[in-house]
Subunit: 235 residues, 2 copies
């Protein structure tokens, strides 16, 4: 998924990408220095929200209690709103959202299947980890979009969604069943690789390859660790 | 599911239920003469919307094309909005929605499984027929609620939801595969019984039993026939 580009008019105050520097300085490369091309950025972000919606809807349908169903259905509504709001941004740019999203469908569909788990708890953790990492990731990448678009996109992606209900349900499940903690810790770790691959696919290999983006991923993994810690799970 | 009651203060201008009359006059019994008890009415209606949402979300997840996914995801959003709006009405009445919905869950869950079909097209027709009949049914029953509540509930239920996208997808599928028409016609007929049972469960047997509510169901079935006709299917 190559869609990072030099085509945008440079903004003088923020160089597009630092010149290659020594490894110690590379650690300072940050999200604001990556400049996503708006259309495919929005397409991938929108399609990913649709996947989160689908997983949340599945979590609603298989929820063991009505309060869980309620909380998750509200969260599914948020993911759906994010999806439709990103779609609306694509329409504002004069493109057909389906055409833009289509190239991202196969990999994102595989990602959803790979992260939806073997039961309801794994499904919940799968959503919590992947949506937590990717919402944060795309929101930070949006800093590199044209300013107004970028701030609208960040507002869309930063809306509080599933994390509270997912954390509540997972914590109470783990408290009731200590064995579940071990299984979920393992599952949580296995989710990171797939999520990073999706994150990676959003960066143009030629421009942001190898070491350059290492700090971006380091930040993503730090987020993940905080999220696992909050559940009392070993990341 | 017995929740029709005499407990409400009678509104002088609309007698709660006509006295028993001769069969020829019974044909005139209409929805406005049925007085639902607000709390369980809202609970059942809200839970049914959650089921529509779940089926629509499943239709999104299994949609063969991205445009279908898009249209259905918007429809799923509408069902979810209806669900949450009805829940909000329950909260206004000072009750806990989960407690009110819980008694309706088992029968409604069974109903959803029974009407979700063997493939994507049957799922779509299942939603189209059941949501079409029941949204109309509950909206008309809402005429018997206290006036302000009733008009809010009707506005919630009457929001255009899935019917356009479902009709479009089904029509194009039927046009491409004439054999599908026969199978779907059969499936459509088989949905009526289950849907009427759910409708029936919303009427208190003691007050609106037997012939009294026949015209209500006649109207429901006429709706169904119109809906099948629009798809070119024999009802």
């Amino acid at each position: 998924m190559v869609f990072w580009t030099n085509r945008r008019v440079p903004r003088p105050e923020t160089p597009r990408m630092r010149p290659r520097v020594a490894p110690t300085e590379l650690a300072k490369v940050d999200f604001a220095e990556l400049v996503p091309e708006p259309v495919p950025f929005l397409g991938q972000a929108a399609y990913i929200q649709l996947e989160f919606f689908e997983n949340l809807a599945r979590a609603v349908a298989t929820a063991p209690t009505l309060p869980a169903k309620e909380g998750l259905s509200a969260a599914a509504g948020v993911a759906l709103r994010k999806h439709h709001a990103l779609i609306a941004e694509l329409r504002r740019l004069g493109v057909e959202p389906d055409d833009v999203m289509a190239p991202f469908a196969p990999a994102t569909d595989r990602f959803r299947l790979a992260t939806s788990g073997a039961d309801w708890f794994e499904l919940l953790l799968g959503i919590h980890i992947t949506a937590g990492m990717l919402d944060g990731y795309f929101s930070r990448l949006a800093q590199g979009l044209p300013v107004e678009l970028g701030s609208r996109v960040r507002a869309i992606l930063d809306e509080e969604g599933a994390s509270v209900v997912l954390e509540t349900e997972l914590k109470s499940a783990i408290a009731n069943d200590p064995d579940l903690a071990d299984r979920l810790a393992l599952w949580g770790r296995s989710l990171v690789g797939d999520t990073l691959l999706i994150a990676r696919s959003a960066l143009r290999a030629s421009e942001a390859s190898g070491d350059d983006v290492e700090p971006v991923f380091t930040e993503l993994i730090a987020d993940h660790t905080r999220r696992m810690d909050a559940l009392g799970l070993t990341a």
